[in-house]
Amino acid sequence: MTAAALPPLIDARGLTRRFGTRVAVEDVTFTVAAGEIVALLGPNGAGKTTTLRMLAGLLAPTSGGGSVAGVPLTATPDAELRARVGLLTETPGSWDRLTVWTNLLTYARLYGVADAPGRVRAVLDRLALADRAGDVAAVLSKGLRQRVALARALLHAPPVLLLDEPTSGLDPAAARDVRRLIAELARDGAAVIVCTHNLAEAEALAGRIGILQTRLRAFDTAQGLGVRPGQVTLEDVYLAHTEDA
């Protein structure tokens, strides 16, 4: 069975979010199955982060709904939904004065992880951060901070991962490591959405790609979107869907 054939872990139906009179996201519908990676592309302000926040239970949809990991998306997002989602925010958001260990241990406890210290050690090992556990977050490079943020999103082994620009600002080697990790996590069964401006990354990583500009302009595999090696690039497709807006 292919990933897309599995029951969807993310089921967004007509998601719409308004801020006053401004429509940030309108009528967005798509699904993501367990083990699948979906890339969400779109210009700045296209509604990618707002979509992730609705799926993460941080923002309530103005209308529309669906479910995430079996929890309905409602007008009053609850803690149960947030417990089943790992969210990598656009900014790392670590507590700078605290060590990597204390940062992660606090989050493990906030997520109610059993054997929190053991789980933190395991995640630190997986992200090759064990030797930086005692460092305060303030002294870490941007790449390391991003890895710590990713570690934080993985602490409670969520079935759904929502990653907002996970490789933004990382050097090529660090970005490659993060992409490998994301692929591993999907192989382990997580449903993953990656918001990115990096089209090559989206094409390499994701099984399906969504192009968002308030509305979901397109959502398919690269081939289904019309990408043809040597003839039509993802950039061509992306620009065709976003430049007319």
Partner: protein, 271 residues
């Protein structure tokens, strides 16, 4: 609240303490207030007469005032001791301000600090509820503010026992004093905390949020001045009534704090 709720509150509370340990400068203001509340009455009641060579009972007006003030537990004290007790008691409301200033400083820093450091989004993405978040932040600040108050009181009593006339220290361990520092001060601190939480959820700067503390500090200072002017002290019953009133106000403000802490607005304006 469930066991899971308390576990999350403890986790965030522990993080607050760890951050304070790493940024001790935040405590500078409250500690300065504590030192002032301990030293000022001792210097006036014990230091100045000793350094000037003019015993307190040389001033008839002061002795008369001390007799009128009816310091609790002061029966049988000499005139000089009575005046010392009067001065120490007159400055006790200053001690009551220690947990108020401490609580306000700590809670506004804890909430506005998260907003300014852009650390709120991952925190709000956890199962932590708004009530849990506010209980963790205000609860930690409350415990630390009470620790400051207890430290100040112990230092004041110890300093009085060591430096003042015999029997004066005992007047600091009476029902009225306990009602003030064990009732009014913590209750006022709770009001400051809940008010701080409300203002912090809207304020963009911790200092701006702290200014709201004036609402709590001013009535306490007013009580302090009224006590000086009326040459009498609030009774234990007055203080217990004030405590009950303040607890009721704090409960109301706490209810408001949870409702005005708009997670969505904070997310969209601060991240």
């Amino acid at each position: 609240m469930s066991g899971a709720s308390w576990a999350r509150i403890r986790a965030l509370g522990g993080k607050e303490v760890a951050e304070l340990r790493a940024a001790k400068g935040v405590l500078l203001g409250p500690v300065a207030m504590l030192v002032t509340a301990v030293l000022m009455p001792l210097v006036l009641a014990v230091g100045v007469p000793a350094w000037s060579g003019e015993p307190l009972d040389d001033t008839a007006d002061l002795v008369r005032l001390a007799q009128q003030f009816q310091v609790p537990g002061a029966a049988g004290l000499s005139d000089a001791a009575l005046v010392q007790a009067l001065l120490l008691h007159q400055f006790l409301p200053l001690m009551a301000l220690v947990p108020v200033v401490g609580a306000m400083t700590l809670v506004t820093t804890a909430i506005v600090g998260e907003k300014q450091a852009r650390t709120l989004e991952p925190l709000l993405a956890t199962p932590l509820t708004t009530a849990e978040l506010l209980v963790a932040k205000t609860g930690t600040a409350f415990v630390l503010a009470l620790t400051l108050l207890a430290t100040g009181l112990v230092l004041l009593i110890a300093g009085t026992a060591l430096a003042a006339a015999p029997g004066v220290a005992a007047t600091l361990v009476t029902g009225r004093v306990i009602a003030l520092v064990g009732g009014v001060a913590p209750a006022a601190s709770l009001v400051a905390l809940t008010l701080g939480a409300i203002v912090s959820s809207r304020a963009k700067d911790a200092r701006a949020a702290q200014q709201a503390g004036v609402v709590v500090v001013l009535p306490l200072v007013g009580g302090f001045v009224a006590q000086l002017n009326s040459q009498t002290a609030f009774s234990t019953a007055d203080l217990l009534l004030a405590t009950a009133g303040l607890v009721a106000v704090a409960a109301g403000l706490g209810w408001v704090a949870v409702r005005v802490f708009d997670r969505e607005r904070i997310l969209t304006e601060w991240t």
